[in-house]
């Protein structure tokens, strides 16, 4: 188990290194940099910037070297000093921009993940055990719709209905009167009152996908020889389902943390913008538009770290659940 864990951690570090390189290159791929974005903003306001000013700005922001030098600078700053760099746009250290929003992003994602699981698991099991029943068809149809509808569309539909029915747009995660208040029961209830909207919007696709996974896996497992064999030795049906096929169908379910977490985080980018959530999504979008490269790069890196840690957790759970993984097929 220790070797398994060590190997996983090593892969994790390599993955992050690769991601950092790709992220940095992609952020720098569009022509221009933060200074050109600044220049065009000034131009709109009728103020020109002369080449000398531009050059000075580039030196000030450390944008004068080539791409590799910039990457090396960024990389060593993060690894050696834990410094994510300055955000040009916010004129603050990136860490200060990200920190207050990171908590919300992770909170929204993790809560959505838990709710997604809690909903998808029983629905998927029901749908497999009662295959071809009316309930199964209903679940499958709704699942298809949920999977096919983009998150932002669901968000827009929500906004439309809340404006026509309640006359207001549900935005943010707290009502104005509670936002700056200290944590208490009232604020918590207020938060829950707001949280269900992004949860439904972000989680629908995930629930639909998971239901399909659980259903298909369980359908596969329900007809395996070991099920017949267990029935033949008198294991009662309920215990049979729990102890045999469900144990096996749990594996792909656990490994979903790996792919559903990035899905939730990305979903948050678009939906966070529409519902104006205090999460990382909206500022990531802003930083990409203004080519605020350290901020954009850092946000993507932070999200990658979260995802990779999620994958590690799911790998560990898998190793715990499945002796074949843990023992590596040794005889």
């Amino acid at each position: 188990m220790v070797r398994y864990l060590g190997r996983r951690v090593l892969y994790m570090a390599a993955t992050l290194l690769a991601i950092s390189l790709v992220v940095f290159v992609i952020i720098n791929l569009p022509p221009g940099d933060y200074v050109t974005a600044l220049q065009s903003r000034y131009a709109v306001q009728g103020q020109g910037l002369n080449p000398q000013d531009l050059e000075n700005l580039r030196v000030r922001y450390g944008l004068d070297g080539n791409l590799l030098q910039q990457y090396w600078h960024w990389f060593t700053q993060i690894v050696v000093h834990g410094d994510l760099g300055m955000s040009f746009e916010h004129e603050k250290p990136v860490a200060q921009v990200i920190a207050p929003r990171l908590g919300w992003t992770i909170a929204v994602s993790v809560i959505t993940l838990l709710v997604t699981w809690a909903l998808a698991f029983p629905i998927g099991v029901y749908s497999a055990v009662k295959q071809h029943s009316a309930g199964d068809y209903a679940v499958t149809t709704v699942g298809f719709l949920g999977l096919a509808t983009p998150n932002f569309l669901i968000a827009l539909v929500f906004i439309y209905f809340s404006v026509t029915w309640f006359g207001s747009v549900p935005s943010g995660l707290c009502s104005p009167e509670w936002c700056d208040a200290a944590w208490n029961l009232g604020k918590l209830l207020d938060l829950l009152g707001h949280l269900w909207i992004p949860m439904i919007v972000i989680g629908t696709g995930g629930v639909a996908g998971l239901v399909r996974i659980i259903r298909n896996n369980l359908l596969d497992e329900l007809h395996r020889p070991y099920v017949t064999a267990a029935r033949a030795r008198g294991v009662p049906e309920g215990a049979l389902l729990r102890r045999y096929p469900l144990r096996v169908a749990l594996n792909p379910f656990v490994s979903t943390i790996g792919w559903i977490l990035p899905l939730l985080l990305v979903g948050d980018i678009v939906v966070g913008q529409i519902l104006s959530l205090p999460t990382l999504g909206p500022i990531l979008l802003g930083s990409l538009k203004s080519q605020d490269m350290y901020l954009a790069g850092s946000i993507i890196m932070v999200l990658s770290v979260v995802t990779v840690i999620g994958t590690l957790i799911s790998d560990l759970l898998l190793g715990w659940l499945d002796p074949r993984i843990r023992l590596g097929h040794q005889r």
Partner: protein
């Protein structure tokens, strides 16, 4: 003849498929006597496995048992209860629970696939033990180790915590046998238990089944396509073709004097060391027809060397009873025996 332990009569089991209803078992009558071995032999797809599974009602959702009775006389014989028809029991009936794994043990074709890979063999054995014997955890574990030892697993105290994928196919089948034996069943149903194993392992498993049978005085219903196995194990033999039993005989009679043309052809196609050197092995011409398109009359007539045109392809052959449980379903013997 003494009271049979298990009596199957008029069993019809069919499967709904995309192409139509497949009648996999089409009127099977069989009897298993206490302490005796019945071998059911036939080609792939003749319905022998489905017959075995129908006994404990293990047919999957797409299939259904349409008619017939499966009478269990075990409780009557040992004086603990009445005889009952397994097929009419309520799915939640205690007697069905007791029958499955309690009075009847069953082992299968693919031993490794018949065990859940994610749980130790001990856990699966203890589970069954506790279901049928009411032992507590500790006692069940001790009994499990003892059982694994009985079925010839070396170092049983350690192997009890092994996962199935850490054991060979032969070892897995021994575990399956240990599970089947855990409540001292009066009948063991073995559904081609040696097909997936190599030849030396096969022989060991057969030896094991034979010695356990003698020790526990249990009846065995052995499903196989291997006539060598039949010769070695059987007391009585039922030959199946396309969902029907075409011949029933004691093992000596079957090999010495096969009646049905299909049985004769089967025996002729067994290679004999020395005799068959340098010549082609006789085979039965043609292939087993699909049960969807059953030939008219006798279903074996298109492949039969002795078929009588105008008779065999028109009417279903009579079942001829030669006495002493010997039967054959063929017009050739119509005058010899009694029409059943």
């Amino acid at each position: 003849m003494e009271q049979p332990l298990l009596e199957i009569s008029g069993l019809h089991t069919s499967f709904d498929t995309f192409d139509g209803k497949v009648r996999a078992v089409d009127g099977v009558d069989l009897a298993v006597h206490p302490g005796k071995t019945l071998c059911v032999v036939g080609e792939s797809g003749c319905g022998k496995s489905v017959t075995a599974r129908s006994i404990l009602r293990l047919i999957e959702d797409s299939g259904s048992i349409d008619a017939g009775t499966v009478t269990w006389n075990g409780d009557l014989i040992d004086g603990t209860g009445e005889a009952f028809d397994v097929l009419t029991l309520d799915p939640g009936d205690k007697r069905l629970q007791k029958l499955r794994g309690g009075d009847v043990g069953m082992i299968f074709q693919e031993p490794a696939a018949s065990l859940l890979q994610l749980r130790t063999v001990g856990a699966q054995l203890v589970e069954t033990l506790r279901l049928h014997t009411g032992l507590d955890k500790k006692a069940a574990r001790a009994k499990a180790i003892e059982l694994l030892d009985t079925v010839g697993i070396p170092d049983a105290a350690r192997r009890v915590d092994a996962y199935p994928f850490q054991l060979s196919g032969g070892m897995c089948q021994r575990v399956m046998i240990a599970i089947a034996l855990c409540a001292n069943p009066s009948l063991l149903i073995a559904d081609e238990p040696t097909t997936a194993l190599d030849v030396t392992t096969q022989a060991r498993i057969l030896d094991l089944i034979r010695s356990l049978q003698a020790e526990h005085r249990m009846a065995v219903m052995f499903i196989t396509h291997d006539l060598g196995v039949v010769a070695e194990l059987a007391d009585e033999v039922a030959v199946m073709y396309l969902g029907r039993v075409v011949e029933r005989a004691s093992v000596e009679e079957l090999f010495a004097d096969p009646k049905h043309p299909y049985t004769k052809a089967l025996l002729a196609s067994v290679p004999v060391l020395g005799r068959d050197r340098g010549r082609d092995l006789p085979t039965i011409p043609g292939a087993v027809p699909s049960p969807l398109h059953r030939p008219s009359g006798c279903s074996f007539h298109p492949r039969c060397a002795e078929a009588i045109a105008g008779t065999c392809d028109v009417e279903a052959p009579p079942e001829v009873d030669f006495g002493n449980g010997r039967t054959a379903e063929c017009v050739l013997y119509e005058t010899e025996g009694v029409r059943a």
